[in-house]
Amino acid sequence: MNHPFFKSLQHFLIYSGAWIIVTVIHAAVLLFFYNISISYSIIDGLIFNTLFALFGLSLWYIVAHSRYNKSPMLNGFITHITSAAFLLLIWISLGDFILSLFSGNNTNYDKFLSTALPWRIISGIFYYSILILIYYIINYYNALQERSIREARLNEIIRTTELDLLKSQINPHFLFNSLNSISSLTITNPAKAQEMIIKLSDFLRYTISQDSGSLVSLKEEIENAKRYLEIEQIRFGNKLQHIFNISDKCFQKLVPAMILQPLYENAVKHGVYESTEEILIKTKCTSEKNVLKIEITNNFDPEAKSRQGTGLGIKNISERLKLMFQQNNLLNINKEHNLFAVELQIPQKS
């Protein structure tokens, strides 16, 4: 716990400045309202306020280190009552003792001293409360900042692990089914088997080589999507159709690595796996005003009544986009009778 007023010279000057102002007011009150000589007014103000300023520094530790597990309100209250009483006792007796070293024959001042005690107590309680309040605000603010830093770090960790997970979680169904198709093709069509092995290798290589949170060109992502869809096409034949409608200027735009793959997997899983009819997966990209729009649409069999999944993949993408671009609503879903559409908006650096 670093003391807030020693954190930087600026903070220390603010604290000292505040006490200098209080000292000036203190002295002025004695001078004008109690008709005490200027030297005594200054001495009184200096001694008492300097002492409180010094004691006040230590109050930070009471605020910062008080952790009560049971009834924090009550415990905090008791702590402050006792510490305030203790501080006032020491403050006033020490102040009076130092003053006695300076004591001269000043009738006005002696008269003031005899009535000063209640005022000292009241002002002491007032200073104490103000200081404690300031300390609590600082403490709260610090905690808040720490928490947001921690959260940001956590989010970063989550994001990287999510992508690592994505990498390690190449859908085993997809992998084993593809291997089974290759096994079949080695007998019926060896050339095609070889083509599929190369596509599968390229797909796997791309999947495991992407760094978390990195940006790649849309071209690379689309090439990977095409590989994936072509592999699935070998399994499902004409049942799986795809169209890419992408304007040339989009290809060089940057998108987060592996952001599209889960969307194509969804389209195949909920569209192709569950249907006996043809499923068309359409991809359309346009670019306008520093935003790349990607729309992936597929039809599905509304009669399939399949589990429409938990939507975890889509939620994941939405979270990743939010973390990377600090914007909400970069992913929109539109589901109609037999059409499922996902629209991504990827902000581009101008």
């Binding site: 089974n180 290759i182 007998i187 399994r235 034949g237 796996y273 006996t276 009544k305």
Partner: protein, 249 residues
């Protein structure tokens, strides 16, 4: 003696591989290949093959759903890419399976075993029922229930069901478009339906909370639930407690 077999598999290369491996078995005749659950189930019930190659993941009905709906119970060899739970259940209950991709040796062993069973006239009934039971704990929340309605198969999303009623060894499912029987226990349904949506309001009823319009007093002790189609169902006192916590009466 010739053995009649069919293949139910939604991927063409996988079907071709099975056909290729089967060429060496002169005693097995392929009566047909089917690429979705509906046509596959219909084929089993109509063609009554002795041997079926059955994929799990398919459109319309999964291989597991087909098992539950069979009249005619042939020898079955499951083919699957990756399904730990199913594989464990098959192993424990002497139903053979092939993990994709599989070698021709592995295939031959499986088919020979099945052929032997068929020649010995072993009934698969027992094995099939025990596999269904073994798979139960691993099934995720039920989202749909496949039932037979006469000669037709219906897949009913659970949200379309008003309530379930105990009916001897069966459960009667009441929907807006009619009633269906399913060979399940009330206990099973209670465990496998979304418990925030389906409440066991009575010994004989599990009601869909979304269809309950209001709850009325029946007499001093008992209540009845009035459904969207104005049917009234008795609520027992323990059922009333469950219902109250589910819909915060």
């Amino acid at each position: 003696m010739e053995i009649r077999a069919i293949i139910i598999e939604d991927e063409k290369p996988a079907t071709e591989l099975l056909l290729h491996y089967l060429k060496t078995f002169s005693n097995i005749i392929i009566c047909g290949t089917f690429s979705d659950g509906f046509s596959g189930l219909k084929a089993i019930n109509e063609l009554k093959p002795q041997l079926v190659f059955l994929d799990i993941q398919m459109p319309k009905l999964t291989g597991i759903e087909i098992l539950e709906l069979l009249d005619h119970k042939p020898a079955i060899i499951f083919t699957t890419a990756y399904d730990q739970y199913a594989v464990k259940a098959f192993e424990a209950n002497a139903i053979d399976y092939l993990l994709k991709p599989f070698s021709s040796d592995r295939f031959t062993t499986a088919v020979n075993k099945a052929v032997e069973k068929i020649y010995q006239n072993q009934n698969s009934q027992q094995a099939i029922s025990s596999v269904i039971t073994a798979l139960e704990p691993h099934q995720t929340k039920m989202e749909r229930i496949a039932v037979r309605a006469g000669s037709k198969i219906q897949v009913i999303p659970v949200e379309d069901i008003l309530y379930f009623e105990a009916d001897g060894d069966y459960v009667k499912m009441h929907t807006k478009s009619g009633n269906y029987l399913k060979e399940k226990t009330m206990k099973y349904l209670e465990n496998h339906l979304d418990s925030s949506k389906f409440i066991r309001i009575h010994r004989t009823y599990i009601a869909n909370v979304d269809t309950i319009q209001r709850v009325e007093y029946y007499d001093k002790e008992n209540h009845v639930a009035v459904l969207s189609n104005n049917e009234k169902l008795k609520i027992s006192s323990s059922g009333y407690k469950l219902l109250k916590s589910a819909i915060n009466l």
